[in-house]
């Protein structure tokens, strides 16, 4: 009897293991947030997994959105939230006054929709060297997280990632392009 139970248990374990392995192998490669840079990659796509298209009413309610009107408002504000970047000086990661104003808008959004998950990406222009720029991008993303934290908001749902100079939004080799690339970019993960 005891032996039988053990066998059943073993079988059960194997079943779980096989299921878990299957789930792992089928897991899609996570889309890199912010590749497009304008937010379109992670927003507004029809049926994008994890994006608004793939969300059910329960998840909308979880985000505090209970009507079509609220949903429309959310989508409108989410677009601005993702599209407005925080810009920095060359080799800098301190927040300018305009940068703080943009962040204040993001804070208002995060207060209204406290359940959204957000990735803050740090980016750099092409002029620096690779590894230093990775660290610089990290400092840029971190400057935003610190500012949001200082506003009294909980930041557990915010994560940061640095892409250094590896994912430029503008590919020119002039100050206009560089200025666009020295940025922190917010991506909603819903």
């Amino acid at each position: 009897m005891r032996r039988n139970l053990l066998n059943v248990f073993t079988f059960f374990l194997m079943f779980i293991l096989i299921f878990a392995l299957g789930a792992c192998s089928k897991k899609p490669v996570p889309a890199q947030p912010g590749f497009g840079g304008d937010g379109s990659a992670s927003f507004g796509g029809s049926g994008t997994p994890g994006g608004p298209g793939g969300m059910d009413d329960a998840r909308w309610r979880e985000l505090g959105i209970n009507s079509e009107a609220e949903k429309r408002e959310f989508l409108e504000r989410a677009k601005a939230f993702e599209n407005q970047d925080i810009y920095y000086d060359y080799d800098g990661y301190t927040l300018s006054d305009p940068a703080k104003r943009v962040l204040d808008e993001k804070i208002a959004f995060l207060k209204r929709y406290a359940k959204v998950r957000v990735t803050v990406e740090g980016h750099c222009d092409e002029r620096g060297t690779t590894e230093y720029n990775l660290a610089l991008g990290e400092r840029r993303a971190n400057s935003c997280l610190q500012y949001i934290k200082n506003s009294g908001l909980q930041t557990e749902k915010l994560t940061s990632i640095s892409y250094g100079k590896e994912r430029p939004i503008a590919t020119g080799h002039d100050e206009a392009s560089w200025a666009k690339n020295r940025r922190a970019h917010f991506v909603l993960n819903y």
């Binding site: 996570p30 890199q32 590749f35 080799d91 620096g128 060297t129 690779t130 590894e131 230093y132 990775l134 660290a135 610089l136 990290e138 400092r139 971190n142 940061s160 990632i161 640095s162 892409y163 590896e166 994912r167």
Partner: protein, 450 residues
């Protein structure tokens, strides 16, 4: 010697699926190496250094075989010695005799003729093929002294002729400079195609590129362990940048460290199974000493500034790294034992990517000069700062060859970034990578264990 050779072959067979071949060294004649090195006293770091003229005729075939291999062997040896920056192989067109008629022994060789052609040294190679078996012999002659300096015989699969020639090139360098060449080394780098960056490595001369990562994502900062057994790198394959390693023998890749946030800029500590990495798990990009399984052993550099790009001294006691604690990125040196930090670079506002020379006498780095990055070298005490590249695109990420004679670096001097190598006096630059896309962040492997 034989045992180590087997290890060497295993390494090649693992990746290149060439049948393992015993590259047996049958004899080592004429080992007057030490005395010879003193006689010639070749020091290529001197500004007055002139490349040594050497004649390398086609190898002589001992049994009737195609002449192509005879030519290929001669050309490969010639290319190796040219690559070393120490020799200037003479154009075989000027040679007076049919290479198949030139003798193999000192009494048969017309040294005065070779002297008139301007050769200081002559290499006579010979070979015979028996089925799949190759027997190759290389001999180095001192033209001025009219005597043999070095001879070595190789036997193995004919498909391995290239490694035999590379090894003999190594022996020639050892005989004349007291130090082996770098002909069994590899250079790892980052290959960009579209928005993807993958890790590759190739032979010292750019041949045989091997792809390490296939994530169609970002992979950066390849770093060899000091026994060439492991290649660490950073990959975003799991979303965030984490440090992984390729085991060169098994071909397996494993995670070394994936702490929350950023895990970047790995550097193996020489002679130990430990790495320095930059992690921001405590809120700031700090440099940590970790084990090869990612266990944190020590926080090496921390503060409120960026601390990144560690590069070990060859004895593993000191660490050069980049910090912006002065307001912009500069190179610092940490004494790991005492914890003392010292700023190394003071000129220029952007000095990064330090790499300590294998003999410990220089630190190479990228600094801005003339609006672009250029390669500099500086003494570890901060003296003798020298700019090595100038006015030819952006030149970044210098990495020393294991003999300290050359630097690999990425350069945009001929369009997109590619890996180049040059002598440490800045001469002899040549493009190493010939792939499409761009190549950057080279790391030169140590020699294989012998």
């Amino acid at each position: 010697m034989i045992r180590l050779r087997k290890g060497f072959c295993r390494m090649f067979s693992g990746k290149n699926s060439v049948a393992a071949v015993v590259l047996a060294v049958l004899c080592l004649c004429m080992a007057t190496t030490g005395a010879f090195a003193q006689t010639f006293n070749i020091d290529i770091t001197k500004p007055s250094f002139q490349r040594i003229p050497i004649a390398i005729p086609d190898f002589k075939y001992m049994a009737p075989e195609g002449t192509q291999l005879a030519r290929d062997m001669g050309n490969t040896l010639s290319s190796d010695l040219d690559f070393s920056g120490i020799f200037r192989p003479l154009d075989p067109k000027g040679f007076l005799e049919n290479p198949q008629a030139i003798g193999l022994n000192a009494p048969e060789i017309k040294f005065p003729d070779w002297k008139r052609l301007g050769a200081d040294f002559l290499v006579r190679g010979s070979y015979q093929v028996n089925g799949s078996q190759l027997r190759m012999e290389g001999r180095l002659f001192d033209v001025v002294g009219g005597r043999m300096v070095k001879g070595k015989v190789y036997e193995g699969d004919v498909r391995n002729w290239r490694s035999m020639v590379h090894d003999f090139a190594d022996e020639i360098l050892l005989a004349l400079t007291g130090e082996r060449g770098v002909f069994d080394t590899k250079i790892a780098y980052v290959q960009s195609t579209g928005s993807a960056k993958e890790i590759f490595y190739c032979d010292f001369d750019g041949n045989n590129p091997v792809q390490v990562t296939r994530d169609n994502n970002l992979a950066l900062s390849p770093a060899w362990s000091s026994d060439q057994g492991q290649l660490a790198f950073v990959s975003y394959r799991d979303g965030a940048p984490k440090v992984y390693a390729l085991n060169m023998r098994s071909g397996a890749q494993s995670l070394i460290c994936g702490y929350p946030g950023m895990n970047i800029s790995p550097a193996w500590r020489p002679g130990r199974n430990e790495l320095a990495v930059t992690l921001n798990k405590d809120g700031n990009p700090d440099i940590f000493l970790i084990s090869s399984t990612g266990q944190i052993l020590q926080k090496l550099v921390h503060g409120w500034s960026i601390n990144v790009s560690p590069g070990w001294s060859p004895d593993g006691r000191k660490l050069a790294y980049v910090s912006n604690e002065s307001g912009n990125p500069q190179i610092y040196v940490l004494d790991v034992g005492s914890g003392q930090k010292k700023r190394l670079t003071f000129s220029g506002k952007y000095n990064t990517a330090p790499c300590w020379s294998p003999k410990g006498d220089w630190i190479a780095y990228s600094g801005t000069a003339g609006g672009t990055h250029n390669v500099f070298i500086i003494r570890p005490d901060g003296s003798d700062n020298r700019q090595i590249t100038n006015g030819e695109g952006s030149n970044e990420s210098p990495a020393w060859s294991p003999d300290g004679r050359m630097l690999a670096f990425s350069s945009t001097r001929q369009g997109g970034p590619a890996i180049w190598i040059m002598l440490t006096n800045g001469t002899g630059a040549r493009k190493l990578t010939r792939q499409g896309g761009s190549q950057e962040l080279p790391d030169w492997s140590p020699r294989m264990n012998r």
